[in-house]
Symmetry: C2
Subunit: 227 residues, 2 copies
């Protein structure tokens, strides 16, 4: 469903050159439940941003459903993201002036669904992450973990084929984190959605069926495991 | 060294009343290494913000070094914070237009020290959290865990008597997280600094000598342990 082919992401040049991602090649199949693991600063967010079409590689190719995204217009990329990809950001990226409900509804604005329907789907998605009573709160009226869960609900509400989650349980206690992982496991099984997480959390690690390890921007290990 | 006496923090009123903290009383002694633990949304950030003088209680009293802070001017509170308290925010709160080095130096601007000295202390503090090569990067040129470590370096550089850390390892891998905890343990022992963490991380929990549990804004347990 998605693939990085010799993808690199460089910043600066000459003496200040930083290879955030370095000649990275990996392929993900539909239905996978994969963790991208590596130390702080190793390139996880960079890799996920490329796969999620939020950023462009300096060299190499990103493919979604076998189709290369090189040279696509930013409108075309937005279209693919809107329909196929759900993204949970490491720093949430909620809209400060919108309520939790409106933030989640935003994800459905390209869906062509009627407003009454999107409102209901958004409310349901928030209830599933335990925020059913907090629909009207704005982000600055929510705790860190509550904001993280709004970001999660927003990504899951459109039942995307590819769900990319950048440290989705960092601000959650283990009970809440497990509830979120159960939700994702269900979506993975019922909809054959592909899940790609970066994490430092052992609880997420142990649910992974495949672990891809990154160090200094490079792929160092790729291991399938029996779940 | 600090104390909450029947402290409450309410938002809204009537039907929308939220008791983020509810009649919370706790005393911390110099040299403690204490974890505040509780589910997402239970009131940890709220409690830490009151103890760190970043917020005012709706009712009840906050005391620092036995002195009540009720009715102190915002200038007086800033003075106490500047000299006695180091705070690591759950969402880092770095200044976007300043480099990592400048962000850390900011914490020393009330110290009366010479600029050459503060520059050196800041560089040292960043080296201790593994960021010695990244002094000139701005926050948006750093990974999530690197930003978290700048926030940590900034809080530690002034060797405060009271260090308050809101989920300081949330974005760190276990090796980096342990390095940070070792640093804090050293400061705790060498300077008799009081450490108060909120965390969901079992690695931080197990180093705690005292665990205070919070649920729905209320104190539910307070347990000393042998380290
Ligand atoms: N401005 C506000 N208006 C209304 N409720 C608020 C406001 N700010 C915080 N709250 C509520 O107060 C409660 C405590 O929030 P707090 O941020 O202290 O939780 P926390 O324990 O730090 O959670 P987490 O582990 O998710 O960071 C939460 O239920 C939150 O929704
Ligand atoms: N704009 C930039 N300019 C220079 N270097 C950058 C920039 N953005 C990121 N980097 C560097 O790229 C590397 C990879 O960053 P990335 O955010 O992908 O790490 P990460 O694995 O997600 O780390 P964490 O676990 O801390 O979130 C880091 O060393 C970071 O400092
Ligand atoms: Mg990251
Ligand atoms: Mg919090």
């Amino acid at each position: 469903i998605c693939e990085l082919e010799n993808a690199s992401r460089h910043y600066g040049s000459g003496p200040t050159l930083v290879k955030a991602l370095d000649d990275f090649s990996v392929t993900f199949q539909p239905g996978e439940f994969t963790v991208l693991s590596g130390p702080s600063g190793s390139g996880k967010t960079t890799a996920l941003n490329l796969i999620g079409l939020l950023d462009n590689p300096t060299s190499g190719v990103v493919k979604i459903d076998g189709q290369s995204t090189a040279g696509l217009s930013s409108r075309a990329l937005t279209e693919i993201r809107g329909h196929k990809i759900g993204f949970i950001f490491q720093s949430f990226n909620l809209v400060p002036v919108l309520s939790a409900l409106e933030n989640v509804e935003l994800a459905l604005h390209l869906s062509g669904l009627d407003e009454g329907v999107t409102r209901e789907l958004a409310a349901e998605s928030l209830a599933e992450v335990g925020l059913g009573d907090l629909l009207d709160r704005r982000p600055n009226q929510l705790s860190g973990g509550q904001q993280q869960r709004v970001a999660i609900a927003r990504a899951l509400v459109k039942k995307p084929k590819l769900l990319i989650a950048d440290e989705p349980t960092a601000n959650l206690d283990s009970k809440t984190g497990n509830q979120v992982l159960d939700l994702m496991a269900r979506l993975n099984q019922e909809h054959d959605a592909t899940f790609l997480f970066s994490t430092h959390d052992p609880m997420v690690m142990e649910r992974a069926r495949r672990v891809v390890k990154i160090l200094d921007g490079r792929l160092v290990e790729d291991e399938k495991r029996g779940a």
